[in-house]
Amino acid sequence: MIWVAWRQHRQQAMAGAGLLALLGAFVLVTGLQMSHSFHSTGLADCIKISQNPSCFDLSDAFMRRFGSEQVFAILFVVLPVLAGMFWGAPLVARELERGTQRLAWTQSISRRRWLSWKVGFVGAVTALAGAVFALLVSWWMSPLLKVTSYRDNSGAAGFRPGLFDLHGVVPIGYALFALALGLALGHVIGKVLPAMGATLAGFIGVRVIVELFARPHYIAPKIANLRFLGPDAHGWTIKAYSIDASGRRFAANGISPSDITYFRAHCPGFPMGPGVVGPKADVAAKLADACYTRVGLHTIEAYQPASRYWTFQWIEFAIFVGLAIALVGFVVWRINRTAS
């Protein structure tokens, strides 16, 4: 039966392998360039010392050269859903569409065994391709992430939504989920093209919901009490606001004109605008800081510490693999309800 699965799906497997080889070659070449530049310029060693301000010029040069390559990250976000659309959706839907299930299901192999061979074969290929690619992209991104983490002083750029999704183990989970979603929708809809469309929509829907509403709460965030406009806590900032001793709330990331009026009422001599430059800038900053201390202004931040990164990766991986298993289970249950 493994022969049948291979013979039937080898074209898709080859097309997929071709696409991945192409992308892989690109990732390898640019990744080597990036990694070489990261080490040879001394940037790698420089930013090992945290908060070392002297690396800023080096990191600027690095980002000018390679920052634009982050655009390709979008490609890697899309890859898993391609597995769902081009491998998952046609798996059963093509048989139903062409009526070949009447041939397959009347040989001496039970429908469940038939399904498990097909899903097993394509699932194994997907998991393998997903793992290889996740590893490759993780390696590719790591200098970019290190430099970004250094520049925004978060220490955990890889935790950010949009970047978290690209590396580690989650891409494998996404790919398996997309595959199972395609399989299930293909079985229910019974037509390849509509099933592919539904897979795309469903995948995006689930990913967005998990990313926006579930991921921030996998573990209750930590709360940090920070200096106003000072550095963020190390990790993924989920929510932040600033408050002073009187209970007045401020945005955590800047000062509005009404804030300035408020500060001037409490601290005469508070600089008129944020844009004070030149020799007076230092004086202005000191005055402002003194005022913040005086009104008791500080920032409250809810954040996921950088140390939770891998825990979050495995939780999200488990969620998507769990969804994939549930979807395959649904198809296994449904395929024996005879309706053709």
């Binding site: 049948v4 013979r7 009526g99 005879t338 309706a339």
Partner: protein, 305 residues
Amino acid sequence: MAGALEAQSLAKRYRKKWALQDCSFVLPKGRIAALVGPNGAGKTTLLHIAVGLLEPTAGSVHVLGGKPAENEEMLSRVGFVAQDTPLYDNFTGADLISFGYHTNRTWDGEFAQERLAALQIPLDQRASTLSGGQRAQLALALALAKRPELLLLDEPLASLDPLARREFLGTLMESAAEYEITVLLSSHLITDLERVCDYLMILSNGRLQLGGSIEDLVEQHRVLIGPRRTGVKHHAISGVAQVLDESVAGRQETLVVRVDGPIIDPKWEEYEVTLEDIVLAYLGQKDAPAETKKNVRAVAARKAQ
């Protein structure tokens, strides 16, 4: 005697429409049976239930003493050639034989290869590039290579030209005789199957109108031709159990009847029925399809001879 295929009050409903209703029959083993009925009569539904592709809404069906497709052993004993002979289009003949080898318990790949060689169907050509006749032969060879005890074929002749039909039926008959396979094949035309079948089942509007061995059926039915008589009930004719069809041509009247005794009345000339007469008469029983009209002409033509 246990039947190869038995149904009790079988019924199947799709949403609101009944595709099959109150269908009961026993197809004895060893028969070559024709399942005849117009398009949409429920033939495909019946066959799909028998091979386990569909679940009946009500009633039960037994195949070789078991439930359809209840396990892999049961699947291996029944061969099926579906309508329009679905094959994997990008598989070659050799691939399809290999497919059968990998998905069946018993598999006579050599038989399939020999069959295709004898019919000069290339093994290395993709199924999508074969002619309709070659596809049908390939599908039949695959179904036979399973070494089934019961072989079901859904409209296998529909897309074949007369020569291909003859070749197809030739293969089928040869193998059925050699391996003692019970065969049930559906068609909307009885003329295709007349030469090869010894059992007939007529399906119309989701109901089984008639089922029996052809020998018995021919024995039980007659065409009667006599003078036109207005106002007289036909069942008054002694020896006639049921008038199935009547048509008038000039001053003469032609009846297709089921008999339960000798026809004594000298006014009626008695003729043997053809299978086509029987099929058309029974199909005309309820919601007469257009084909009944042909019956009138067929009988009139016989009288003219």
